[in-house]
């Protein structure tokens, strides 16, 4: 799948959210999108998913089976988890029996009879993930998938992503929670100033800056730096 000179803005006279974006997504690859809040990460993900259409440029080679898990799953709907997922399975033309394994794997099988508005943030996030995974997507787009998840599911998700990529699924993920940083061969894209820049160890315009922080502040500082769009690594991880 390839984006060629893609430009996007929400209205005709608005500033460009993204401009001259050219990038390729390799089948079976994992791409992490970083950038500060409001930089245009979610817009880029929506363009890749086909939910937005570029004003300029082209997007080619998008697979037909696309799974998209939004940053905030829309719980304001009059369905139970089970009936909602059965509807989504029917729309995706997969049998309802596909729901059970994902409910078990993401540990929400006890919530199938709970109404969507009654779900906690983390449980809603799991339902959002499940509906994206139902139809064995060839392209999986996850917008902050780890936000609000319990520790067990958060730890299990990177392995699940790896498993999907070995089956050929292309995964694009924005992740402030640094949950996929341990995965090998992750392509990193940085969104800033309406442009998308690949972040690679050999990138000529990047340098390594060591920051010394107190042990109890390390998570806070790392989260802040990631929120500002920096690529952060810990030596011991």
């Amino acid at each position: 799948m390839r984006l060629e000179n893609v430009a996007f803005r929400y209205r005709r006279r608005d500033p460009w959210v993204l401009k001259d974006v050219t990038l390729s997504l390799t089948p079976g690859g994992i791409t992490e999108v970083t950038g500060r809040n409001g930089a245009g990460k979610s817009t880029l993900l929506r363009l890749i998913a086909g939910l937005r259409h570029p004003h300029r440029g082209t997007i080619e080679g998008r697979p037909r089976r696309v799974g998209y898990a939004p940053e905030r799953f829309p719980v304001d709907q009059p369905f139970t988890v089970g009936s909602y997922l059965r509807h989504m399975a029917a729309i995706r033309r997969v049998p309802s029996r596909a729901i059970g394994p994902w409910a078990e794997r993401l540990a929400f099988q006890h919530l199938l009879d709970v109404r969507l508005p009654e779900l906690s943030k983390g449980s809603a996030q799991k339902v959002g993930l499940a509906q994206a995974l139902l139809a064995d997507p060839a392209l999986l787009i996850l917008d902050e998938p780890f936000a609000g998840l319990d520790a067990t599911t958060r730890d299990a998700l990177p392995a699940l992503i790896t498993e999907l990529t070995t089956r050929g699924t292309t995964v694009v993920v924005s992740d402030h929670q640094r949950c996929i940083e341990a995965l090998p061969d992750v392509t990193r894209l940085h969104v800033a100033d309406a442009t998308v820049t690949p972040l690679t160890p050999t990138s000529p315009n990047t340098r390594v800056l060591e920051v010394i922080v107190r042990e109890d502040e390390i998570d806070t500082v790392e989260t802040k730096l990631r929120a500002d769009g920096y690529d952060v690594r810990r030596p011991d991880r």
Partner: protein, 229 residues
């Protein structure tokens, strides 16, 4: 497409939004349509009521279509769009769901006028014409409602004003030289109240007008939803 339409209808019914137009329909049936025709012109009056019913229902159908299409939260609309395999599926499914609900509302509104028309032995052709007219007017009203849904007009206040203004404009346009732009409500009401023969004989022209109107407005709606960024 059927599954997505079913999902949208289920959301509309379960959220109880369907009660608003349903109560309006029951109110019209109770206050207006229950007053059955009587006297020597009972048959003519019953046919006139068959013409009145789609005129009463037009704004309710448009309102119900808008409400149904707005039931899905925006983010769910995105999830449904990725779940559907074709780009046009959500648009077609939304219209199908809205039209189906409108047909059900129309059936409820038509029960009493139909029973009255049968009881006073109104001509079968005029009764069939009344039913066919409802099918076509429901389609036109569904499209008007779709044009004022959140996907096209995001501001709820503006979209409600657009719905009211659109329904009023389509009626008023029928009074002047631009009547070819309007939904031909004046024409079918006039024909229905001129008796069963006029109602049946004028129906092809009214039907052609409604079909042409719906085709143009529906095509423009498809183009608009496809070019939405």
């Amino acid at each position: 497409m059927i599954a997505l339409a079913r999902f949208q209808m289920a959301g509309y019914v379960r959220s109880l939004r369907v009660l608003h137009p349903l109560l309006a329909v029951l109110l019209i049936v109770g206050l207006v349509l229950l007053q059955g025709p009587s006297g020597p012109d009972a048959s003519d009056l019953a046919v006139g009521t068959l013409g009145d019913t789609p005129a009463f229902m037009f704004p309710i159908w448009a309102w119900a279509a808008r409400a149904l299409l707005d039931t899905q939260p925006d983010e769910q609309r995105a999830l449904s769009a990725t779940a559907a395999r074709h780009r046009s599926t959500p648009t077609v499914a939304g219209l199908l769901a809205a039209y189906t609900v409108n047909l059900a509302l129309g059936a409820i509104a038509l029960i009493v006028p139909l029973l009255q028309a049968v009881s006073v032995k109104a001509p079968g052709k005029a009764i069939a014409t009344g039913c066919a007219l409802c099918l076509l007017v429901a389609l036109a009203a569904t499209l008007l409602g779709a044009w004022t849904s959140r996907a096209i007009i995001p501001d709820p206040g503006v979209s409600l004003l657009a719905l009211l203004a659109g329904a009023a404009a389509l009626l008023l346009l029928g009074l002047g030289r631009l009547s070819w732009l309007a939904v031909p409500m004046i024409e079918w009401l006039r024909a229905a109240h001129h008796g069963p023969n006029a109602f049946v004989s004028d129906f092809p022209a009214v039907a052609l007008h409604l079909l042409a109107w719906s085709t143009i407005v529906g095509t423009a709606y498809f183009i608009k939803t496809r070019t939405n960024r």
